[in-house]
Symmetry: C2
Subunit: 763 residues, 2 copies
């Protein structure tokens, strides 16, 4: 029997360091961060940006368990192959495996009564997770489960007690937010299963979920042949009834299970290699056989940990153990999405459901663009430029396959979910282009960008083009759409300018000013306007409704969205009557006490007054204090958020991690600057919270940040130097970062009312 | 306006000859043969063995309308892309198109009230069909519809009246035996649709029908851009509701329709090119663009007619116009299945749902083997050897993909339907191999054959191997299975012998004798026996039940199946007590009057006593008179069947054509000989009914049959010569045919009681 770890204290180096000294940054990763509360992360192993995320699921029927696992749950349904990280909407959780002892159960049972089904009880004391590794001992049957993952394939190591009746169930019906005949749940449209030989199974399901038509195949190879096997459909074993032949080796339907049966010796290890493909079972087998040719669990784990070391080494920091765990767990969560979406041979299923070859690039999916355009992709542009290029090329491939000639809005495994608003693939592409991300044809990208921005059908865009705003009597979320279109249009203008398309530059620059059309000076806030130009009346600027069908704002209020014109914060300030008035109103945002009487409060996470850090519309707001000449207030609020809404514990994330955006905010913020306006040529300095960080840029250069005299109290910038020269502006030139160099802060316990107060916002 | 034919009399050269003189055998084709009654053929255009069968459907909800069209119906639902020919079970009927004038209806309506939906009234006076061509004028809207087909693509030519509101509906919900929420009907599992551009649509559906998981894509290009288009799901137009974006250009679901809208000038022609693929929409487009690059309807029609001329020219006959129409329509129906099943690039979706390349062969599907092993493939072995080779290689590819390691039973578009009994891919392969069909590896084929014959799971085969019969207490249809296994085993023995596998030869030769185990001498008939060796008691040898779950016989009775041991008819005769007794019992078969009180009489077609020519178990029986020394009785019954159950009219076929088996019986029979025992080295002479026929063999030789003095009354063979020498045996050596030569019959009005009476059956 292979030894496995029991009772390892949860957050203290769960597993022994696998080797190679203190450069093992991967050992700082705490996969449980975000699994408790609303973070919606998953604890199972995954390679950086990997296609397989092998992880335990504790529920498959809850909207708010979007990654399958909730730390507070006390039983595990099993281990499924794929997961999303941090989204607010569930999907994936494909192909669940669970070992059993005794008569194999075919249904999961319930949290309340796990013994009614194949659910297994577990306790965090007998559970551990690390980079590329997860382990749990199932309390009811004493099977120890260990998981590791390569890019497209995973490996399960199951250590069984002695049993005449051990088995491993594969439930094809399992996926997230499905599996119950309840309206509103997702639908398993079809599935099939083939027992290819006595140690190999392949299968398929077509899921009508968030991704409305998602094809996924899997392959599984077992380390020893089954002693027996059974197939079930709708709970009945598939047997030939002597009427019309039925194979014992294949099944098709909407509720299929496979049971591999074994007699096990004490401590016998049975391993299962698993892989997925959106193309075919043959491709899943190919992925599996290429990536895990043998049964060396520890090698797979070691290689994946090495990959994590490599990714994390792009940012080297000094700090406490807690700070390093928090920081590198944030980096880890930034490197889970977009995820790889092509087979080992480069083929993938596109938006048009055809099989495409990713030629000259690596194809990715899971584009949570409304979130990730803010800080994730700006971070990638600096330290993951090759991947950012691949991601941009993936966006362009999606565009090529789009029957609507639109760049992705929220792309998920060959599907467009149309989730959220705006066309935020544009800032991703433009920010990458302007920050030096290479490898794609700028002219081709520009055509995709412009065509998207001129689409005649999409989300009120025609009216926006005609009127200068999205009219609230024709379109939901009209204010948020208007404001975000205006920002996206700024990005179009920036690339048009760079490519010398002056007419387009002027045109989109004009559209970028559209945010002013919804500013109601009488209330000093953004306000919905109808097609005739009348303000919505009556109007409650604190009104929030999580149902966007009855809201003029997207997951927020007017008070939150009224700060959103990153392309022209000086313009916003002018509308507000100057910096003092603007800052005073900002103060109100953080102190307004909103009653919980609004309809739905799903997005009200990480609340400081009406600032809700747990959701993205708030993410740039604190930095606006720096524009308003009061950077010390930014420092106060940033440190407050860092201190109270991040950490290295399961419940450390205050809101959905949203494919890394919450984490990317953390990374930029602790480094001392943030991309308030991606696609612009500057970052905004807030207040660092690490004594030193070295950014290894993709262009081969290094950018170093130091913060002298930093402490929990010394959070105020007293002075700064950039490459040795005084730097008295909160606007950090992007070029200065890109070219490498050193930014030194001198920190102190009191606000410095002079530093950074009078700088001009770059054009 | 292009001219089109109206009021063309139905069976008198419906359409003007397109060119090239009297060698145009294709002009004898009467596509309507078999469309009235139980023939289950379809009238629409198809290329020889083509993948697209573009044809009108008059019902989609009836089990007994397996090819979509019933001549007696008075309204047409529309024109769908794919059809089966002659099967007893419906499937296909994919992707229906129907032109409309006025408000587009989305549901078909009913036969009783066609005006409630998109059904169109029609009359046979305004309908015509020929090789590669079908035409109908829709009476309610005066649209003239013309159809033609290439191999993988079809072309529709629609001639519209003037209208502000013309449209063409595509109903993705339509397919045969589906479309209604009735238990037992087939299920549309999923579908999607994309409006690729303003004149191109692609789509997909996944059907759980006879083929339980059938993936089919289509592509359609319209000759002019739509003036508008609409998508519908569950009867509601797909529109963005300002909540979450919905594309106007794509849809997914289980009830989708597409409407292309036009304003038409008087007599305006709009054409639609359509193609299918089991691989992808891109492949369907590729098939379409490669095969029909332009809009030349007449060229496509002409080329397909030429292909038919080429196929039909393999058999040149002399006869009356009626005889030629009947004969060439029979050949036409023999050349519709198996049908092409690979895209223009050679890719197809296999039994394992993976995409395979047909490398070195052309892949076919629709293997109705229980029917076609009898006469269709033996005919192909003579005059379609290349295709027969491709078909055999298709069977072997299916075997390679079979998780059960079984050759096909009834293969349908990447599916195994498990329909009917036996493993009759074996006689197809062995007969081909022994008759000189080349191009496949005999050893590989043998391994597939033997593995199939030794399968541990299939239909009572284990018990059969152990006991020597399929026990009736363990398995339905046990007698038919035993008898057919024994014949298939004879075929295995024959190829084992040819390959020098003497042990296997002896073993399977032993199994081939298993038919004797079910012969109950006390009643002189085959009788079910249980695993203990007890006869089923009580037992009614005339009992028939169309539900095989309660029958020991397959679509027949003991009286019908008791003749089935083609591998050893002398053995059967010996069991019966000699030729006289055997012949006397045969006489009874044709005169026994069976009451219609049995449960279900579906298969009781073409009845002469208890001889039911409309179904396959009877097909070899008449020829047994020749073995019994009374060949004149064979002549009588053969001519009776030819005269009463075949012809050139819609109702001429007495039973399901079964992918050409009924027609192939006709072809062999009118030529004067029949493959009673495929894989043996002889045919059995019956009585010719054509004065002359020349068979252009695939090996380049010619075999000529003449019947001197033949008339409606002179049906008895008086004498015969083979290559100029007297031939006094009803057993015609296969080698004599294969090597080319001449068989001359001298016919007369009275039985010749000497000719052919005393010949020995070849070993």
């Amino acid at each position: 029997m292979r030894s496995f770890l029991r009772f390892c204290p949860l957050f203290l180096a769960l597993v022994p360091s696998l080797a190679q000294g203190d450069s093992a940054l991967a050992d700082y990763i705490r996969p449980f961060v975000g699994t408790k509360g609303g973070g919606n992360t998953f604890p199972g192993p995954v390679a950086p940006f990997g296609m397989v995320q092998l992880s335990p699921d504790t529920a498959d029927d809850l909207w708010d368990n979007a990654a399958g696992y909730k730390y507070a749950d006390t039983s595990i349904m099993g281990f499924s192959m794929t997961h999303l990280s941090g989204t607010g909407i569930p999907d994936r959780g494909d192909f669940l495996f669970i070992p059993q002892i005794g008569e194999a159960k075919l249904v999961p049972g319930t949290k309340e009564n796990p013994d009614a089904g194949y659910r297994a009880r577990y306790a965090h004391e007998q559970e551990s997770a690390a980079a590329g590794y997860y382990q749990v001992t199932l309390l009811n049957n004493h099977v120890n489960v260990e998981l590791t993952a390569a890019d497209r394939a995973g490996l399960m190591r199951l250590t069984f007690p002695e049993s005449e009746h051990a088995s491993i169930l594969t439930d094809l019906r399992h996926f997230l937010n499905g599996n119950a005949d309840v309206p509103g749940r997702f639908k398993l449209i079809w599935s099939h299963l083939r027992v290819e030989d006595e140690a190999t199974v392949t299968g398929f399901h077509l899921i009508g979920g968030w991704a409305k038509e998602r094809y996924l195949y899997f392959a599984a190879r077992y380390s020893r042949p089954f002693d027996g096997h059974r197939l079930y459909s709708n709970g009945e074993e598939i047997k030939y009834n002597t009427y019309r032949f039925r194979s014992r080796h294949e099944a098709a339907g909407t509720n299929l299970q496979f049971v591999a049966e074994y007699k096990t010796r004490p401590g016998e290890v049975i391993q299962i290699k698993v892989a997925v493909s959106a193309v075919s079972a043959a491709s899943a087998l190919q992925n599996l056989d290429r990536e895990i040719p043998d049964w060396d669990f520890d090698r797979v784990r070691r290689q994946t940990r090495q990959k994590w070391n490599k990714e994390l080494s792009r940012l080297q920091i000094e700090g406490t153990q807690d700070q390093k765990e928090t920081f590198y767990s944030a980096m880890y969560h930034c490197c889970l999405a977009p995820s790889l979406y092509e087979d080992a041979d480069g083929l993938y299923r596109g938006l048009d459901w055809d099989i495409h070859a990713a030629s000259g690039f690596t194809n990715y999916t899971v584009f949570s663009l409304w979130d990730t355009y803010r800080a994730v992709h700006p971070l990638f542009a600096l330290i993951q430029a090759q991947r950012d290029s691949d991601m941009i090329q993936s966006l362009l491939a999606h565009y090529d396959q789009s029957v609507d000639h639109l760049l992705p809005v929220w792309g998920l495994e060959g599907n467009e979910t149309w989730c959220m608003i705006g066309y935020h693939a544009v800032p991703v592409i433009v920010d990458g282009f302007l920050k030096g991300v290479k490898g794609f044809d700028a002219e081709r990208a520009y055509q995709a960008i412009k065509t998207t921005a001129m689409n005649p059908d999409y989300d009120g865009l025609s009216a926006y083009r005609q009127l200068g705003w999205v009219p609230c009597d024709q379109e939901n979320e009209s204010v948020s759409k208007t404001l975000e279109y205006a920002y996206d249009d700024y990005c179009v203008a920036q690339i048009a300018k760079a490519l010398g398309k002056n007419d387009d530059y002027q045109y989109f620059k004009g559209r970028a000013a559209n945010f002013t059309n919804l500013y109601d000076a009488s209330i000093g806030l953004m306000r919905p306007k109808d097609a005739q130009g009348h303000w919505r009346t009556p109007f409650n600027p604190h009104f929030y409704d999580d149902d966007s069908r009855t809201n003029d704002f997207t997951e927020g209020t007017s008070w939150q969205y009224s700060w959103y014109a990153p392309q022209d914060v000086p313009g916003l300030i002018a509308l507000a009557g100057g910096k003092e008035a603007f800052a005073a109103k900002l103060d109100q945002l953080f102190t307004f006490h909103q009653a919980d009487t609004n309809k739905g409060m799903d997005d009200v996470q990480g609340r400081i007054g009406e600032y809700w850090h747990g959701n993205e519309p708030s993410h740039q707001i604190i930095y606006l204090y720096s524009y308003a000449g009061q950077p010390w207030k930014a420092a106060q609020r940033l440190h407050e958020v860092l201190r109270t809404q991040y950490g290295n514990k399961p419940d450390s994330l205050s809101g959905n991690d949203d494919c890394g955006q919450m984490s990317a905010w953390y990374i930029f913020t602790v480094l001392g600057f943030y991309p308030v306006c991606p696609a612009s040529d500057y970052y905004v300095i807030g207040s660092p919270s690490l004594p030193k960080a070295v950014m290894r840029l993709s262009n081969g250069r290094e950018f170093t940040m130091t913060a002298a005299n930093l402490s929990d109290y010394n959070i105020y910038i007293q002075s700064a130097t950039l490459n040795g020269r005084d730097w008295n502006s909160p606007y950090l030139p992007a070029r200065a970062v890109r070219e490498g160099g050193t930014l030194n802060f001198q920190m102190g316990p009191e606000p410095n009312n002079i530093w950074g107060v009078n700088a001009q916002v770059p054009e």
